[in-house]
Symmetry: C2
């Protein structure tokens, strides 16, 4: 690969810039970001890429374009690049849900131009280029989407690219991807937002200052609920069918817990509480988290 264009240089975009430069994965790295405050930060950080003022400059000189913006930006950007992009340039992205956004891409992207989708499973509750780091993708999964029309050559190219970036790759179709992440990522984030919202409501109703006693659970949720709201709105809207199903399953289970609690059904609740512990063991074993108690935060 010669040159790469990163569109949207926030937490993940800037991490890609850092990593691509460090590992010399591309000859030149172009950065496009519509946010003036991001551009100021990128300059200050002296990120190893060339900031382009017009999308055209970046697109015409790149073999690979990586969309790192919230998904709601895709349509506008596609309409803009359509007038100068050629079929030689491959596009990918890092969006967290695929079905709905693929429809937008299919509908609006100029015919003949290829966009093969990626989803690196990484991130943080903080946003912006100042929080990016070159090892953001190290050892993390990157899902590559293979749908009916996916070009095998491009898939192979992206697989090799993400491996250089440090990720482990796995290939699946959009439907499977969106189902899995509705449960492992989208619902947990929604639940975290919802829990913090409920705590805020509670504080209002009872006029208790309760946030200061949040060490026992709420604080962990509050971390997740501090994630970028535009990105998450886009994900929730984009994957709404699966998320709705996940919400319904979640509420059904919660009502069952409520019943156990109200009836003091010892056997039923212990069975549930015991079983869930096994998932943690599995997660540690799969190296999806560190095994230090309390994340080693104390």
């Amino acid at each position: 690969m010669k040159n790469v264009l990163i569109i949207g240089c926030g937490l993940l975009g800037s991490s890609l810039v850092r990593r691509i430069s460090k590992k010399k994965i591309a000859k030149k790295i172009f950065i496009y970001d519509k946010s003036k405050s991001n551009i100021t930060k990128i300059k200050k950080l002296r990120l190893p890429g060339t900031i382009v003022k017009s999308l055209k400059d970046g697109v015409l000189n790149s073999d690979l374009i990586i969309f790192c913006t919230p998904m709601s930006e895709y349509k506008k950007l596609i309409l803009e690049i359509n007038s100068f992009i050629s079929a030689k340039t491959l596009i990918t992205d890092i969006g967290s849900s695929k079905i709905e956004s693929s429809k937008i891409i299919k509908k609006f992207l100029k015919k003949g131009v290829h966009w093969t989708r990626s989803h690196p499973i990484t991130g943080s509750e903080v946003s912006g280029p100042e929080h990016g780091k070159d090892n953001m993708f190290e050892g993390k999964w990157c899902v590559l989407i293979k749908d009916k029309k996916t070009n095998f050559k491009h898939l192979k190219f992206l697989k090799s690219f993400w491996k250089k970036v440090g990720s482990k790759t796995v290939i699946m179709n959009s439907e499977k991807h969106d189902k899995i992440f509705s449960i492992t990522s989208h619902l947990p984030h929604l639940i975290a937002y919802n829990l913090v919202k409920s705590a805020q409501d509670f504080e209002k109703i009872f006029k208790f200052n309760l946030i200061k006693y949040s060490a026992g659970g709420l604080r962990d949720f509050s971390r997740i609920a501090a994630s970028n709201e535009v990105m998450w709105r886009d994900i929730f809207f984009d994957n709404k069918v699966n998320i709705t199903k996940a919400i319904d399953l979640f509420i059904k289970n919660l009502k069952s817990f409520k019943k156990d609690i109200n009836k003091k059904n010892n056997k039923s609740i212990l069975k549930k509480l015991k079983k869930t512990k096994k998932v943690r063991t599995k997660i540690i074993k799969l190296k999806q988290d560190i095994d230090r108690p309390n994340f080693g935060r104390d």
Copy 2:
């Protein structure tokens, strides 16, 4: 204070033993634990306390008794100590909910014996004396319960005790305590268990191996859902009235999120998502969590 008896030497009980010994808060520390495997561990760890085989030996020689067992053990233990405890010995505990368990204490504890309740806000997803540590309570809140019949002298004594243990103390009544912690701790734990349960159900239905993609949210919940199941069953049962109300508020809010998602109500969802971020800032400011992204786990 001369001597202290720790009943139940698990994560928190053993942390108290370590701290009391280190800071020389008591002359002698007695340890009582009905679990043989715990006793074996305590011996192997050479914890700085004297293991007593009978409760009587510990109770008769102590000025302060601290119940560190699951709350469901209280009744049985109370009935046992009633036959030899005197009014000179003060009892406290570290139970996470207060209204229901206070009724048990009131109903069964020998008249004239004082039990003033404590709740140190600390813990971890791991259990057992091998995970205890002397700084477990350092800088953490400890709630002291002041109800109608609480003896002021005992409250003062416990306040001083917990300060020596490293905690910041705050006094409130059982009702306020149980309301606050139903939201900041009990509901979050239930939600975490419920989310992991829902992920397990999902895995079964779709036959997808999804736990390995849990980096994006589920893993944080899985940590909380790995907590001791007996302790949590007791808390859920004990504080069922407040937890039921919290569940209802949570479901109401979740349904409102679901509506926003289905209607793609941009304004409404962004308002909610933005507002919840503020809680994180507050939690960091109040030093209830560290401010490193992702808990600094990477």
